[in-house]
């Protein structure tokens, strides 16, 4: 990687070796893929959405495959922030990539309590505030749809957490740009988009929805064009960096996001299909840069908009 084109970046104050992040919810707490993946190819791992109290998650079935996609309703099953800090945190820095913890809650107060517990925690390089989980009844996506609420929530978290602060946005509001601008105004250092899109699959034999919680969040290649469009719109409107995600499986997919204006990209569902996806992305991006005469990937960021 040293002699090839540059892939390094500084995202929201976090130095990264590559512009590829493992997306929250798809990489557990960072260690699950150790036997299967080359961690040196990740710029950062975004760890599972964590709440103040442990959460049991949604009743199964939680997954159903859809055409080129995956509908999930995990419901933020997680052991809670205290368990994370005591049991999971130690040694995270040894994994290699930067570590970002996704946090979620049912109230502004809960988000702030979780964020304040992460202030100064050296193993966690930054936090991603999840205001867009479609699979919890309270909070989650409902925080992500109203620009005024987003501004209040992100502003409150900003007051208690001084490190790099990412905000993960939903498309549920219909208009994503006002929400993005609200998060930026309230002090977000970067924006992650998009989260999954709400959907439903019905089992025609049982004549009821497949998922235990009826609806779920759609991910995978099926949502990629929607995500590229959202990145395009948001990157034009905000000054802070955008982390693009939604169905990225190959370097060609990732390139679309860079060209639309993403500074980095996150990969979720593709890990399930191809645990070596990060190595493939680094190899594919490097080859594209070499073949097209670029010295650093950053020359591509937003390049599709400049004509």
């Amino acid at each position: 990687m040293n002699s090839g084109p540059g892939l390094t970046l500084n995202l929201a104050g976090i130095p990264m070796k590559t512009p590829f992040l493992a997306a929250s919810g798809c990489y557990g707490y960072g260690r699950e893929y150790l036997p299967w993946a080359d961690y040196s190819c990740w710029g950062a791992l975004v760890l599972k959405g964590t709440t103040r109290e442990p959460r049991g998650g949604n009743p199964p079935p939680r997954l159903v495959e859809t055409p080129s996609g995956l509908l999930n309703a995990i419901g933020l099953q997680n052991p809670g922030i205290d368990y994370f800090l005591k049991q999971i945190r130690p040694g995270l820095e040894e994994l290699g990539p930067a570590i970002i913890l996704n946090i979620a809650g049912e109230s502004i107060e809960e988000y702030c309590q979780v964020a304040s517990l992460l202030e100064g925690v050296k193993e966690v390089d930054g936090i991603e505030v999840n205001i867009s989980c479609p699979n919890v009844r309270k909070g989650g996506v409902h925080f992500g749809t109203d620009p005024a609420v987003v501004e209040e929530l992100v502003g409150a978290v900003r007051e208690v957490y001084s490190g790099p602060l990412l905000v993960k946005l939903s498309l549920e509001a219909g208009q994503i740009v006002p929400v993005a601008l609200a998060a930026e105004k309230a002090g977000a250092d970067a924006l992650s988009l998009i989260n999954t899109l709400r959907g439903m699959v019905i089992d025609i034999h049982r004549r009821r929805p497949v998922l235990g919680s009826l609806t779920g969040g759609l991910s995978g290649p099926a949502i990629r064009p929607v995500a590229v469009r959202a990145v395009w719109e948001v990157a034009e409107a905000v000054k802070i960096p955008v982390v693009g995600m939604g169905g990225i499986c190959t370097a060609e997919d990732a390139l679309q996001f860079f060209l639309a204006g993403a500074t980095a990209v996150a990969v979720g569902t593709a890990n399930f299909v191809n645990p070596r996806v990060a190595s493939d992305l680094v190899r594919g991006l490097t080859r594209y840069l070499q073949e097209n005469g670029f010295k650093h990937y950053r020359e591509l960021i937003g390049a599709a908009r400049n004509r």
Binding site: G25, C26, Y27, G28, E32, Y33, P35, W36, D38, K48, G56, G57, P59, P60, P61, R62, L63, V64, E65, P67, S68, G69, L70, N72, I74, Q77, R206, G212, G220, P221, C249, T250, A251, E252, T269, N271, F272, V273, N274, P275, R276, V277, S279, D280, R283, G284
Partner: protein, 272 residues
């Protein structure tokens, strides 16, 4: 754009139908770690995005010396139908595994009772061969709706195994349910342990009977799965933990669970 540089690839050597909608696959695979009965692999057979995910399959047989992986596959949905349609000798296969926890107490000397329903045979084939190889006693009951849905007795004989069959329509072995025969076995033979795999209603009844007769039982469970390595929390099943019911991952904490703690009353689609 993708490569499989850091993991060994597999190659389909042979695919034969052994029952209606049921195929035995022999895959050339250079095992890096010897698997244990009850473990599974996540199989990917094509480069496209539809079907998107890998599919998990219990290991039927793993011959590390010859470098072979055997699977028994039932066509149950779009994924397995696609695999069978595309499956031709020489086809490259991407294999993640071995994954999950195996059946415990493999080396126990007491009489083990194996209970399989329908295609829930694969992990028990592995277990039975392992018990036989070690000269450990076991009995094996196989239940199914009818003979056409089960591999024929000759299939088992070719592996040196002779299970006892029971079918709902009486077309093979006794007529009835596998769990009826299980009850008789528990009464008459007092096995020291039961290992079961098959449809959920059968497993629920088996767990209940074993509790009644105070015989420990281990159930190999199935679930729709995404990652297979414990990252996504998608494949969970309800497991009793003291007073509480918690969701545990079939891929990591399972697929083999202690029958005592699986909460079938909370099971989706099953009326308690």
């Amino acid at each position: 754009m993708e490569s499989r540089n850091n993991s060994p690839g597999g190659r389909l050597k042979e695919m034969v139908a052994v029952a209606r909608n049921c195929y035995r696959l022999i895959i050339e695979y250079p095992w890096l770690a010897p698997p244990q009965p009850g473990q599974f692999v996540q199989l990917r057979w094509h480069r496209g995005t539809d079907p998107l995910l890998r599919r998990p399959f219990s290991i039927h047989r793993a011959d590390c010396r010859r470098g072979e992986l055997w699977l028994l596959i039932q066509v149950a949905g779009r994924g397995t139908a696609d695999l069978v349609e595309r499956g031709t000798p020489g086809m490259e296969l991407d294999i993640l595994g071995p994954l999950g926890r195996s059946f415990p107490h493999l080396e126990e000397e007491g009489l083990a009772l194996l209970l399989g329903g329908g295609v829930g045979l694969a992990p028990l084939l592995f277990l039975a061969e392992e018990r036989r190889r070690r000269g450990l006693p076991f009995r094996w009951l196989i239940g199914g709706a009818g003979a056409d849905l089960l591999p024929p007795p000759e299939y088992f004989l070719s592996l040196g195994l002779s299970p006892q069959f029971v079918t709902e329509d009486g077309s093979l072995g006794e007529k009835g349910l596998a769990t009826d025969l299980l009850q008789r076995f528990l009464e008459e033979e007092r096995p020291s342990r039961v290992h079961a795999c098959g449809p959920v209603p059968m497993l629920a009844t088996a767990a209940k009977l074993c509790r009644q007769f105070r015989v420990p039982c281990h159930l190999s469970l199935e679930s729709f799965m995404a990652c297979g390595v414990g990252a996504c929390q998608g494949c969970v099943v309800p497991i009793r933990h003291g007073e509480k019911v918690e969701y545990r991952r079939v891929c990591l904490e399972g697929p083999v669970f202690d029958g005592e703690v699986v909460d079938f009353e909370q099971w989706p689609g099953i009326d308690p």
